[in-house]
């Protein structure tokens, strides 16, 4: 009797597995949540129309047209963007009961697991709005790619990515990566091509076996801020310099990054009291022994989190961990998110600003004619105070400016030709977007 019921139970379970969603049905269902966004892709993550894509697919657009598989055209707004991590959250207008996908867990994904990528390489799907589906495996996890060593300060950092051999090509950006259960485990973002290098035409940037998707676990960390439209700022440590490992010196045999005496200690964040000769061995508990990894682990930390750096002190060789609030990354990439925040605000001043090196204020590089700033502010002025609050960078300026209203009279303190000047300017209403 026991044997019979066991067999029966097994058969019932077996039947359930088979009568469940078949592989083709799974693919069909996943295609429904796919979005064609310009020259790239996106994926719907909630029934009321929120969708994820890459920041570089959105570019500077704030409201735009997107298309579902099959060609249905809908309008979407940008909700929030994080250009450093290359993720953007958009929302489809007037959306109800849209097909969407569940978010998976990239920490549960194993190397060798089968994955499915959906995208629109080379705009091939434009004829009948059917996307391209490719299949492969996870080749590696926790990959970081940025241009930090080339430029000194990164303009982007692809953080905690999954390396896949499912072919992805230009046009797949912003598109979904699924596991076989149909859960979203990554957003396809970039590839490392055998043929892609400076000066070579776009036409040679095709997949040669390695593609990368930003892991869903990292995106989940950003999602609450993306939804709430908070400005997302990543950590950076400016002023720190490291010794270059030299094969002839004893330094070569030591682990960690040796802090050099060229470090500008006064620029380091408060609470981070490293000295020249200390060796940085861990960031947030993760081991670092090269420069790129160090900056990657710093940049993946948000300014709302605390940064922990473990050093081996130079004289005692004892380890010490410094935990502190990091500095927000102020340079290049912030500009795009800055532009976004300016656009969201109602008030209009009429200036284009640029950070200055020594962080004393923000420089006016252009004054829009016939704007509130015209006739009052000049090119070259360095604004140091806005509405009574100190300005050290464009980010500070926008953070304060977003709360100002059209018609409001604001006090601006600035430096012009080494003279301190105070002005009152009445803000106008923003009309152009």
């Amino acid at each position: 009797m026991k044997r019979r019921s066991l067999l029966l139970l097994t058969t019932i379970i077996y039947c359930n597995i088979l009568l469940g969603e078949s592989y083709s049905e799974l693919i069909e269902r996943l295609e429904k949540s796919y979005l064609f966004i310009g020259g790239g892709s996106g994926v719907i993550i909630s029934s009321d129309g929120y969708a994820l894509t890459n920041a570089h697919v959105v570019g500077e657009a704030r409201k735009f047209v997107v298309r579902l598989t099959g060609g249905k055209t809908v309008y979407a707004d940008l909700i929030n963007i994080d250009p450093t991590a290359d993720i953007a959250l958009i929302k489809i207008k007037n959306a109800k009961d849209l097909p969407f996908v569940q978010l998976g867990n990239s920490n549960k994904v194993k190397v060798g697991n089968v994955v499915i990528a959906i995208g629109n390489p080379y705009l091939l799907g434009v004829e009948d709005f059917s996307p391209t589906v490719t299949k492969g495996i996870i080749s590696a996890k926790h990959i970081y790619i940025s241009d930090i060593l080339e430029t000194g300060t990164p303009s982007f950092a692809h953080i905690d990515m999954l390396q896949i051999d499912a072919p992805i090509n230009p046009g797949n950006s912003g598109g979904p990566l699924f596991n076989l259960r149909g859960e979203l485990i990554g957003i396809n973002s970039s590839l490392r091509s055998r043929w892609a290098f400076e000066g070579v035409e776009r036409n040679y940037r095709f997949n040669t076996g390695t593609g990368y998707a930003i892991s869903i676990d990292y995106i989940k960390k950003l999602l609450p801020k993306l939804y709430s439209q908070e400005l997302i700022t990543h950590c950076f440590i400016s002023g720190i310099q490291f010794e270059r490992p030299d094969s002839t010196s004893l330094l070569f045999f030591q682990n960690g990054l040796i802090v050099s005496n060229r470090t500008q200690v006064e620029r380091l964040p408060e609470g981070f009291n490293v000295e020249a000769g200390d060796a940085i061995i861990k960031v947030n508990g993760k081991i670092v022994n090269n420069l790129r990894t160090f900056y990657h682990y710093v940049i993946e930390t948000l300014t709302t989190e605390k940064l922990s750096i473990t050093v081996r002190k130079k004289n005692t060789y004892k380890t010490k961990t410094y935990t502190f609030n990091c500095q927000p990354y102020r340079r290049a990439v912030s500009l795009e998110s800055n532009k976004f925040y300016i656009d969201m605000k109602q008030a209009f001043l009429g200036v284009i600003l640029e950070d200055v090196d020594d962080l004393i204020g923000v420089k006016v590089t252009k004054v829009t004619p016939e704007s509130p700033a015209a006739g009052k502010l000049e090119e070259g002025d360095i604004i140091i105070e806005l509405d009574g609050k100190q300005i050290l960078s464009e980010l500070d300026f926008n953070r304060i400016f977003q709360f100002l209203k059209p018609g409001q009279k604001v006090k601006i303190k600035l430096i012009r030709n080494n003279q301190n000047i105070e002005l009152d300017i009445t803000l106008a209403k923003r009309t152009a977007y």
């Binding site: 067999l7 039947c15 310009g38 657009a61 735009f64 490719t134 072919p167 036409n203």
Partner: protein, 340 residues
């Protein structure tokens, strides 16, 4: 079978019924057979040939590149693609078409006809064959596993790559897009599904396409003319009738497929001596209407042009420096004249 083991099972009628159901389900189980090794069909090199040309006159090389071909009848019909017959968009002048069997025996081939729309060429050799490929029109779905088989150049062995069907209606409905790695050595090779059925021939790959559209060798973007279209074309091709491609008109503008706040297709630059140039389009113009169609982004413009018949006259609504202007477009140039 691998999924279950056959053992002696003691027990009454009930147990045996359950077991029979069990075995039946396993044998038809799609998950189990998802990655079965194919046996038998089209796996040996004698279904395949190499096709190449003996070139005419003073050439750098006497012979063209070799591509694959498939033996598709017992009286010697060979199916291949247009690849060796065109270089940089121009027809190659040749003395002979040569077909080399897997054992390196070389035969002269007769040119029967070409299908430019579906990238097929039909040849015939004066020989009979026991083994040949028969195409099957199947209900292939996106995500299904496919295997690409081609003949190695220097030995009588087959070369296989594996992937899935990425899309089923490319090239105006006559090609599968596959992610199995294909390169110039796989052109004309066979695409089979998981059950070993011949469902397509590797096609639509060339140096020019790689340069204009971007998909290069082994990029994971490849195409195969569908069995359905092969079977239909062969009816015409065997009668010696060429099938020409519906000429796609060429507009002559460069732009950015990225999205923007601008509802329209923004032009970066205009190619000289093209319909766009003659219509008076300029860099910076934003096309908002193409005939009756409202254009909200770049890809809509590309699609609209590809759907318009050659030699059509189209009224364009364009925004130039914040002013709306009307332009007349005469699409009298073929895409093939500029891009192959």
């Amino acid at each position: 079978m691998g999924c279950i083991q056959f053992t002696n099972v003691r027990g009454g009628f009930f147990t045996h019924t359950i077991l029979v159901i069990f075995i039946y389900i396993t044998l038809t189980c799609s998950i189990c057979s998802a990655d079965s090794n194919q046996t038998g069909k089209f796996n040996t090199s004698d279904y395949y040939v190499r096709v190449f040309l003996k070139l005419k006159g003073e050439q750098e090389t006497q012979f063209s590149k070799k591509i694959n071909g498939l033996i598709i009848s017992n009286d010697g019909y060979i199916l291949t693609t247009n690849f060796i017959f065109f270089v940089r968009g121009k027809e190659v002048e040749y003395e002979n078409i040569l077909v080399e069997l897997d054992n390196f025996k070389t035969l002269n081939a007769e040119y029967i006809a070409r299908d430019e729309k579906n990238d097929l060429v039909l040849l015939k050799v004066d020989s009979s064959f026991n083994k040949f490929v028969t195409f099957k029109n199947t209900d292939t779905k996106i995500g299904d596993t496919v295997i690409v088989t081609s003949l190695w150049l220097n030995t009588p062995t087959v070369n296989k790559t594996k992937g899935i069907i990425s899309a089923i209606d490319r090239m105006r409905g006559c090609a599968y897009q596959i992610d199995a790695k294909v390169d110039f050595a796989s052109i004309g090779g066979l695409v089979t599904d998981n059950d070993g059925n011949a469902i397509g021939i590797v096609s639509f790959l060339s140096e020019e396409r790689a340069q204009s559209f971007g998909w290069g060798m082994n990029s994971g973007v490849g195409f195969a003319t569908k069995a359905k279209c092969i079977i239909k074309s062969l009816n015409e091709l065997k009668k010696g009738k060429n099938i020409s491609a519906e000429p796609t008109p060429f507009l002559g503008v460069q732009g950015d497929p990225g999205i923007s706040d601008i509802l329209g297709a923004k032009i970066k630059s205009v190619v000289p001596n093209t319909p766009a140039h003659k219509a008076g389009l300029k860099g910076g113009d934003i096309i908002v209407k193409f005939g009756e169609k409202t254009i909200t982004e770049w890809v809509e413009l590309i699609y609209a042009v590809s759907q318009t018949p050659l030699n059509s006259k189209i009224k364009l609504e364009v925004i130039r420096k914040d002013k709306k202007i009307q332009l007349e477009l005469f699409l009298d140039k073929k895409r093939d004249e500029f891009v192959k």
